[in-house]
Symmetry: C2
Subunit: 232 residues, 2 copies
């Protein structure tokens, strides 16, 4: 198998970028995509910062890690900056993903249109329910979870996505790790333990709703008539 390296790694310039910056790059990319959809060709750092919800100084600092400084009086070229961030994030190649659990959430994720443009390809779906195995979801035949290890090896899966009930999450994580997976995205409502060297990220679908609720509270002075003492 040929090992391809990204330009940054190949020329020895691929030193690490701070994790907090890495976490913001997809947000900048989302803002840039939104500008591009509106036909914007270039943008000032202030505009991009506002779209992304960060302060302009931080944005400029973050983008400087990519060697991207914009042009005084013109700003950033939207297309080129998209390319630079996408390259940095590894999106100039495809990452094959297996989704474990093909319930409502797994099915929704398999159909999610935002993945392919981000270099993420749903390569396989697996489920423990015999009723679901063999059915076709988003043009993919659902495989049995018994075949998980074989699928990971054969299809060169890079990332495992856990979309099972919380009770199954740890077992699925253990099997993904045993199969050689070192990057896991966990949608299940459970904390999973993994060995050192394995990255797990947990998605909290309520975060954006919490931010809206905060602003709603400010706007309305809290008009709800129900009130709770403390959250659980």
């Amino acid at each position: 198998m040929t090992i391809l390296r990204s330009p940054r790694l190949a020329d020895g310039s691929g030193r690490g970028i701070p994790d907090a910056t890495v976490a913001r790059l997809p947000v900048y990319l989302r803002a840039l995509n939104s500008l591009a959809e509106q036909g914007v060709l270039s943008c000032a750092s202030n505009e991009l910062a506002e779209q992304a919800g960060v302060n302009p100084a931080k944005l400029r600092k973050d983008l400087s890690y990519l060697g991207s400084y914009g042009t005084r009086g013109v700003g950033y070229d939207v297309e080129y900056l998209r390319y630079q961030i996408a390259r940095e994030m590894g999106q100039t190649q495809d990452w094959d993903v297996v989704i474990v659990g093909v319930g409502n959430l797994g099915s929704a994720l398999s159909a999610y249109q935002g993945f392919s443009a981000r270099g993420i390809r749903v390569a396989a779906l697996v489920d423990a329910d015999p009723q679901r195995v063999g059915t076709v979801v988003s043009d993919i035949v659902v495989s049995s979870v018994d075949e998980l290890e074989a699928i990971v090896a054969e299809r060169k899966i890079a990332i495992g996505v856990i979309a099972t009930p919380g009770t199954a999450a740890q077992e699925v994580a253990d099997r993904l790790v045993a199969a050689g997976i070192t990057s896991i995205l966990n949608f299940a409502p459970a904390i999973v333990q993994v060995p050192d060297g394995v990255d797990v990220r947990k998605v909290d679908l309520s975060i954006e709703l919490q931010i809206l609720a905060y602003h709603e509270q400010r706007k309305t002075g809290t008009t709800s008539t129900t009130s709770k003492e403390v959250i659980a």
Copy 2:
């Protein structure tokens, strides 16, 4: 109807917190919940910052807006800090949400266990498909989208969640706004336009996957054999 005000608003101290801080508060809350689940009672700002993926100075600054400074040598009380953030975010009351679109994503959201502990209550589900209207999803009878305005008024809905296909998103947003909703969470793969004074947040389910792909690329030196030139 009685108008309840949060303690911070009532005593006049409820001045705004920077948007970037507001966006990080739910992330701190997630980290604190994770610590609490592990039985941790108090934590240093460094530990909490690491869990949340921000730098410790920023965390301390953010929490200072809540009047929370921790105790030297002891750190923050996990339970009390959870309460402080939850109160600030408006989670000490319930926010009623309508989900528009009860496909896989809408169904998954309606069953999402992370909402109720965050003060978010799915109060209604609506769909345009007559086949879905009248069915029961997560113990809620699905209503027709024709009743959207009536439902918003009757149930005092604070936030609308769009989980429709992209093509329906703008019309749904228009109707939510006409019904008086000023906070919208958009899961549909489309940009929606709204008047000033209405907050829209767009969820990008691929962001966490992009962050994993970045780290995967660093770990493996990119072992995928497929390579694309530029993302779309």
